[in-house]
Amino acid sequence: MTGTFGIAAIFAVWGIGWFINTRIAKARGKGLGLIAAIIFGLTLLLMWELAVIALEVSRVLLPPPSAIAARFATSTDILWADFLQTFKGVVMGYMLGCGAAFLTAIAIDRSDFLKAGLLPIGNLVAALPIVGIAPIMVMWYGFDWHSKAAVVIVMCFFPMLVNTVEGLQAADKMQKDLMRTYAASYWQSLLKLRLPAAGPFIFNGLKICSTLALIGAIVAEFFGTPIVGMGFRISTEVGRMNVDMVWAEITVAAIAGSAFYGLVALIERRATFWHPSQR
């Protein structure tokens, strides 16, 4: 009886959420898109909650959002420690990987020969399952965050390299000619014309790498960590059937991942405000 009632409630929630959103979609105005997205998200969460209760899903399989929130609230200290451990690897690897790729791109940019060879290889490597090097890196650099940073470096390097090299070619021929008529040196034209013109491409690479970095670090932690870290917590708590803790950890990962991406996007908006896609 509760089952049928619950399913009816689920459909009712869906219907109400959908009704509001179609109304919003017809109206036009600023910020409405955000409201529609939030309503959609809340509808999904509510449906999840109702479905778990109505269908009496075992908590070991799928805890309701309320249980996850409760778990999140009671274990913030563990989550915070895990977050710090994982993010040490993410941030170090991200900065070193993207930085190295950026410098390499500028170095090989002067040689057409190297560019012609590196781009196809870079594109190929970007398609490879690089997370697979995680066990090797853990073997080489030990269990602490250094091995995670190493995985992140390798994962970030090629997407960033390909994007930066492409970006450095983005300046118009006309603009380059103008620099030449100004008798600008290589460095002047690089700093004043070509790097700013490469901005949108560079930020595209940075954005791709920001999600890759988190994935790399968490997967690397499956292969061995000190007893702290998000990947470690997820794999052990799955084994102990504490699924609500796993979901709390995933919530942290989602928030951290979105915040990281959002931060890069925000810097992009500030730095490349002149580009058509930002207006």
Partner: protein
């Protein structure tokens, strides 16, 4: 020609760096061995040994090639020690996930393009879904799907689906919106219904956008399958090989599995690319 030459240069450079790295990283072990035997050795003396260790820290390229030869040609395909057997398992999960992901992506894109409410409410969550490191979800999703009595391959394919649908949604939405106002107006002057405009104009003009997305989706799908296999390792697959290699310190096994995965990725992406080229050519997009 120069292009080929420069690619070759880079490949050779990578192999040289690899050999140098192997010599450097494996030398320590040889020094330790010599010290234990109360001998002093020079670097040149141990150099050949660093290339032929049983469990090197970094195996030299020819050792990996040897391992690949042993596990692909010299073993029967049905043997559990054959790399081809494991590659086949991974391919199954990847392919299934790719089909699911492409289908889901296309359906979502059609909905998003045709329904403004869906565009506003679903699209932000599609983007947000990718900032969640789904690979972290993999172990749990597999436990759940196993409890629901799903086959292992379907569980693995689910992870692949999640990773691959995003690229398809983004590319397909862009593609379905690519016909310009003039073309849409023309359809209207023909008194074409919404469905007719969709089948005859929007869908065909989305294909040049769809195929590059499918390439990305194929690569993402493989990554999902490999990571899923690390959790569901009893079924075998390249991910299981990686995991076993790391447990038993069999570095050659890890590298062989990595190369196997890379070749599989290359073949999948190339196959999608080729299908795309042929389709687009027959539809008259390239000339």
């Amino acid at each position: 020609m120069t292009r080929l030459l420069s690619i070759l240069t880079i490949v050779i450079a990578i192999i040289v760096i690899w050999y140098a790295g192997a010599a450097r990283m494996n030398a320590q072990w040889e020094y330790d061995q010599a010290e234990r035997a109360d001998k002093t050795v020079t670097f040149m003396e141990i150099l050949p040994n660093t290339m032929a260790q049983e469990r090197p820290i970094l195996p030299a390229p020819h050792q990996v090639a040897e391992e690949l030869w042993k596990t692909t040609v010299e073993k029967k395909v049905t043997s559990k020690r054959s790399l081809l057997y494991h590659t086949w398992i991974t391919f199954n999960a990847t392919f299934l996930g790719f089909i699911f992901g492409a289908g889901l992506g296309i359906l979502l894109a059609v909905g998003i393009v045709h329904n403004r409410a869906m565009d506003m409410s679903v699209m932000p969550w599609v983007i947000a879904s990718q900032t969640i490191p789904v690979l972290a979800l993999a172990p749990m999703m597999i436990v759940v799907l196993n409890a629901l009595n799903m086959e292992g391959v379907v569980a693995k394919a689910m992870i692949s689906t999640y990773l691959s649908f995003f690229a398809v949604v983004v590319g397909m939405v862009k593609g379905l919106r690519s016909p310009d106002a003039m073309q849409l107006d023309l359809m209207r002057t023909y008194n074409a219904s919404g469905w007719q405009a969709f089948w005859r104009l929007r869908l065909p003009s989305s294909l040049p956008f769809l195929f590059p997305s499918l390439k990305i989706a194929a690569a993402a799908s493989l990554i999902g399958a490999v990571v899923a296999e690390m959790t569901l390792s009893q079924d075998g697959g390249l991910g299981a090989r990686l995991l076993n290699g790391s447990y038993y310190g069999q570095t050659m096994m890890i590298w062989a599995a990595l190369i196997g995965a890379s070749v599989l990725a290359g073949v999948l992406v190339a196959a999608v690319g080729l299908t795309g080229q042929i389709t687009l050519k027959r539809m008259g997009f390239t000339r």
